[in-house]
């Protein structure tokens, strides 16, 4: 297998009126062709910033990006913005959380769908139309011809997300970034969209990065999972390995806090108390220490490095779960 996207020591800093804010703090990630990886973490953990930085989509005078991003053999972090832009569509594409704001409200679905086909692939009007009907069928929209004439506001959230997917895959990208593609949707529609994405990924042989806050969403739809916390990857493993053998107390807490349909009715849910540390003023030790029920003195003073266990399981914790090291539970 070869690598399609490789992040090496990726860092993103914003300068704000409250000082330097380090949103992504040295992320290493190597994504293999044809796999699907889930990036999981709570709101504010840096998932969106990391994926945008990887795609070179972060702009603004207050942003600094460090580190190396290699996509499909090309070093994106050293290319001009123009060259990076040329990778969009055919190389990589993105789907966003809010399908309403990502579509232009005053243009018909057809013209938005055909735009990149004509511009990027140089299709004629007729070819683009035929291809867009094909795409709409691919994302399972009934009566695709009818759909071309509609405006985004006439569609439900689920339909809009299907349109976004159709636009994203229109130029056969190798890598698809999906940033919380189902967070704004109902569970029933979420199930359909996830199934669709997984199916399309296999059929079109795409690599997929699925960003979400819900461990339930990654369970059935990814090969690998990376858990992010406070701008770092704190645990990473093949999906089945991760769920079978969680090493990081944070992952476990995240897992336990999911409202689970299999639990007893009326039972009290376990929660993660507290909140993410202030990103402008990170504590010296483990970022989770103040909220971790296994934390010991060392956790507050020394920052844990990413350790490698067997089966490609990475974790960032002084006292990983399932270890025989004795610890006091506070």
């Amino acid at each position: 297998m070869s690598s399609i996207l490789k992040l090496e020591n990726l860092k993103v800093r914003f300068s704000t009126h409250r000082g330097q804010l380090e949103a992504v703090r040295g992320v290493d990630l190597d994504i293999q062709v044809g796999t699907s990886i889930g990036i999981v973490g709570e709101s504010g953990s840096g998932k969106t910033v990391m994926s945008r930085a990887a795609m070179g989509l972060l702009t603004g005078s207050n942003v600094t990006r460090e580190g190396r991003v290699t996509f499909d053999g090309k070093v994106l972090s050293e290319m001009s913005r123009e060259d990076v832009r040329n990778e969009f569509g055919t190389g990589m594409a993105m789907i966003f959380q809010d399908p309403m704001t990502a579509l232009n409200p005053v243009r018909r679905i057809g013209s938005q769908l055909q735009e990149s086909l004509r511009v990027r692939l140089g299709m004629s009007r007729k070819e683009a139309r035929a291809r867009s009907i094909e795409l709409l069928t691919l994302v399972r929209i009934p009566e695709p011809k009818h759909m071309l004439r509609k405006f985004p506001s006439q569609l439900s959230g689920g339909m809009r997300q299907r349109i976004m997917i159709a636009i994203a895959i229109s130029c056969n990208p190798k890598l698809l970034f999906a940033d919380e593609p189902t967070t704004a949707l109902d569970v029933t529609v979420q199930a359909q969209i996830l199934e669709l994405l997984t199916d399309l990924r296999k059929r079109l042989n795409m690599t997929m990065v699925l960003v979400t806050h819900d461990l339930g969403v990654v369970a059935g739809n990814t090969d690998y999972v990376a858990v992010m916390y406070a701008g770092e990857i704190v645990e990473q493993a093949p999906t089945t390995e991760l769920f079978a053998n969680m090493k990081m107390p944070y992952t476990e807490a995240l897992f336990k806090s999911i409202p689970n349909i299999q639990m007893k009715a009326g039972s009290r849910l376990p929660v993660i108390e507290g909140r993410l540390p202030d990103p402008t003023d990170r504590p010296p030790g483990c970022g989770f220490a103040a909220r971790c029920s296994y934390a010991q003195d060392k956790c507050f003073t020394e920052h844990p490095e990413l350790e490698v266990a067997k089966d490609g399981h990475l974790y960032r914790c002084w006292f990983p779960l399932g270890d025989s090291v004795p610890r006091k539970v506070s």
Partner: protein
């Protein structure tokens, strides 16, 4: 044609809704059947979960209970008062004993007001206490919802995360010490890890303030922890209603079963025997004849198209509107 099999004795319930109909006129002389003849009741201290897909009329139902959205017909009886026929002024005071919290935590709070002003507002409207008493009350409320008054009182809502905004909303809704709280998807816009916190908080507040809850959601996994009864809605109609245990143990309606199997399970080895439910609900402007779910139902027959199924009891306290309920 009544659909009242599931209603309990009038004297036992806090809220009783009968044959409630809410319609919206839309351009082209058409009518959206948002809520079509819905009946249910809620006993004091119960938590009724109202579950269904987006657009099935849950929010409209909630607003119609409060008469923020005027129903076309039907009755809403709360503590013996018929809310649909109250005068504007009586309604204003009746509303104080039913409060609502909303899905979007950010847009539920006025961005130009401080947390103190927001939580104090209901007390101000009803001239409860003098300034000092009100401030004390605000502090107590904020404490109870898990916010430190000293840290939050003078900040504005947009400085807070979604979960914190939802806590502020809950504090505000409790200020007038209502009997009933209608929660419209209070956790749908939040991270899973925060959802649990808010659900626990609502349960605590329910005990502390002796509340009766109506909890609206599209996600059956979320309501399991909080509800005592569940009412499943589809396209403006009630499909199934029953105790929480019975609904999860043996969903009788095909739609309920589909909702249950749509919930993502955080276990990669779990193989979904997904009840096939595809597509989206049809338009409420022109709902299907007979059973409204028939266009997506795996068990639909001829009969489902011609005759509307009525709610009937399938097991103790579980009622379903289906010609061929699941065994």
């Amino acid at each position: 044609m009544t659909n009242h099999a599931h209603l309990r004795k009038d004297s036992d319930v806090l809220l009783r809704v009968e044959d409630l109909v809410v319609e919206f006129k839309v351009p082209g002389n058409k009518v959206v059947n948002a809520v079509s003849s819905v009946s249910f009741d809620v006993k004091e201290g119960e938590t009724l979960a109202v579950v269904g897909e987006s657009g099935c009329g849950k929010t409209t139902l909630g607003k119609a209970l409060l008469q923020i959205q005027k129903p076309k017909s039907g009755n809403v009886r709360f503590e013996g008062n018929e809310l649909t026929s109250l005068s504007k002024n009586d309604l204003r005071s009746a509303r104080t004993s039913i409060q609502m919290i909303f899905q979007d935590p950010i847009s539920s709070l006025d961005p130009r007001m401080t947390v103190r002003q927001i939580v104090e507002e209901p007390l101000w409207i009803w001239s409860k206490g003098d300034e000092n008493e009100r401030l004390e009350k605000v502090k107590t409320l904020l404490n109870n919802v898990g916010l430190d008054p000293e840290l939050v009182l003078d900040r504005k809502s947009y400085e807070f995360s979604g979960g914190q905004c939802q806590r502020i909303s809950i504090a505000r809704s409790l200020a007038l010490e209502p009997k009933m709280l209608i929660c419209d998807e209070p956790v749908s816009a939040l991270d899973v890890s925060i959802q649990a916190q808010i659900l626990n908080l609502l349960n605590d507040m329910k005990d502390r303030y002796g509340l009766t809850l109506i909890f609206i959601s599209h996600d059956l996994s979320v309501v399991k922890a909080i509800s005592t009864r569940i009412m499943v809605m589809y396209l403006g109609k009630v499909c199934e209603i029953g105790t929480t245990e019975s609904i999860y143990a043996k969903p009788a309606h095909h739609y309920t079963a589909a909702l249950i199997s749509s919930v993502p399970v955080p276990d990669p080895t779990h193989k979904v025997e997904r009840t096939p439910i595809t597509g989206e609900p049809p338009s409420p402007v022109d709902p299907p004849s007979g059973c409204r779910f028939r266009t997506r139902c795996p068990a639909a027959t001829e009969l489902c198209a011609t005759e509307e199924p009525m709610l009937r009891e399938v097991s103790d306290g579980q009622f379903v509107a289906c010609h061929y309920p699941r065994a």
